[in-house]
Amino acid sequence: MKMRVLLPLLFAAAGALLPGLVGSTLLMTLLTQAVINAMLATGVGFMVRQNGMVSFGHAGFFGLAAYIVALCTTNHVVTAEFAVLLAVALPMLLAFLLGLAILRIAGVAFSMLTLAVAQSFYELMLRWRELANGDDGMAAELPPRLFGAGIAVFQTPESMFLVCWAALMVVLAGLWLLSRSHFGTLTIAIRENEERARFIGYETLLPRALVYALSAGIAALAGVMFALYNAFVTPDVLYWSLSGEALVMAVIGGTKAIWGPALGAVIFFLFKDVAGDLTEHWPAIIGGTLIVVTVLLPRGASGSLLALVERLGVRR
């Protein structure tokens, strides 16, 4: 039990030391991107783990959040701090309401619809040029200070890595606590057997919609970090290849462990870096990886890792 708390704490601390150890800004940039994507993948994976449903459209929430940050700060509708809150809250609310409508249908149909919803955001941003310059993308005019820190903190790889890393650790810890709560048990029960959950006396739609909202909120948080870090958004942040990538990360990492998708994201980015010249065919590589991992490694990296630890433990 002690190990289960101690080990993650040590790991979180070790991660925080990375910027000091890694000399290369290029590598820090890569790692910062990896952590932002790890957050997105965590959202996708949480949905699979807690709802048993696969979302092909989490880029929709990610991109929506990024656009909300960019639009609100550039047009000075609200303060930047409020814009950040809004950018997380609105996608959550949207997912919750949408979930009430589309979670009632079968899992496969749900997946189709998540893709459709995200893609409609994409087309909306692409076509509605007056709002956000369509294809050309828009810059976010961020204020000099945000939440009391200079804006440079969010745009320098070394410091932004720390911000994102801390956020990721907090989210993972929160999800871990949640999974051990009554809500966690209930949602697993509903995932396993929705009908029986109703027959032992639970309403099942609301918890599922809440899981969807939460997972959308995590994706939105990743979108906020993306917008702050890059200060520029294009419709690509809503495109389905990003949803696909997030899903691949979650699949590579495995969704049984809460930290699996985040691990998958890091592996994914290292792999992408190695693939280098082949990135012209990146979609095919993602597609191929998805096929191979799904069929051959259904438990993902985290599952294999846990199985390994278990086997070593038995031997000892």
């Binding site: 997946s111 189709m112 619809l113 459709a116 065919h281 998805l290 096929i291 259904p298």
Partner: protein, 282 residues
């Protein structure tokens, strides 16, 4: 206005031919074929290439044939080996195939938009209540109706059709009653893929060919399938026409939000009937 409505039917017809293939495959295999958009796109490109050499009709036949063969292959190497797995697995694999197909097409044919001329004889225009309208578009509407009629006849009268309908309702029982779902599976996926090829090729003279054409129409056909009730052929037909109209009116009147309108319709339908247009909740 008449012209707008006809244009709606043209898009609705295309959507129907594509979506009904998804319905067929879903009915038998209980999986969503995310690669269907890729098949549509591949069909369009194959049709385009052959048509540029040997004429439109040869291109159409070639495209449909190649896609049907591809369908049999997909059933053998994807759907059948994975049929005992969680449907999520098959879904992820077909999604992977879609990504690979998009890249393949981009590599072979390039990113640029390509266009195909309508076949001779159908390339004229006719006057309808004072406005001109391409004959080819009317032909597309007619073809969609023909496909719907033919499919319905086939499902109702043939032995295979009977099995497909039975399997759509209850795959397990149908298999238990000695229906050879294996051969049935290959037939059905082949027909579904062939329909994707057909719609791709006939769409080629209407839409510009690009490697992303498959994903755009796939989204709308998903909305059609879900709105229609997943396993209902009639539901898909009605939903396709409805969404074709809405999409087209959207493009004309609120171009920025055109892609959102079908979704709104779908959410409304689902709130009203969680199992789609065709069914009351059981």
């Amino acid at each position: 206005m008449l012209i707008q409505i006809l244009n709606g039917f043209v898009y609705g017809g295309l959507l129907y031919i594509l979506a009904v293939g998804l319905v067929l495959i879903f009915g038998l295999r209980r999986v969503v074929n995310f690669a269907h958009g890729g098949l549509f796109m591949l069909g369009a490109y194959i049709g385009y290439t052959i048509a540029s050499i040997a004429g439109f009709w040869v291109g159409l036949v070639a495209s449909v044939t190649v896609l049907a063969v591809l369908g049999v292959v997909m059933d053998r190497v994807v759907f059948r080996p994975l049929q005992d797995e969680d449907p999520i697995v098959t879904m992820l694999v077909t999604f992977g195939i879609l990504l690979v197909l998009e890249d393949l097409v981009r590599t072979i044919w390039g990113k640029d938009f390509l266009t195909l001329k309508p076949p001779a004889g159908l390339d004229g225009i006719i006057m309808l209540s004072g406005s001109s309208f391409p004959v080819y578009r009317l032909a597309v509407i007619a073809l969609a109706v023909l496909v719907a009629g033919g499919l319905s006849l086939w499902l109702r009268s043939s032995r295979v059709g009977l099995h497909v309908r039975a399997a759509s309702v209850d795959p397990v029982t149908t298999a238990m009653q000695g229906v050879d779902t294996e051969r049935l599976g290959a037939t059905v996926v082949a027909i579904g893929a062939a329909l994707a090829g057909l719609s791709g090729t006939i769409a080629a003279p209407l839409l510009a060919l690009s490697p992303s054409m498959g994903s755009f129409i796939l989204i709308d056909s998903f909305v059609v399938v879900v709105t229609g009730g997943l396993t209902s052929f009639t539901g898909a037909f009605v939903a396709a026409l409805l969404i074709g109209q809405l999409h087209n009116l959207g493009v004309v009147f609120v171009p920025a939000a055109a892609s959102v309108i079908p979704l709104v319709l779908m959410v409304l339908v689902l709130l009203w009937r969680p199992d789609g247009l065709a069914k009351k909740r059981s």
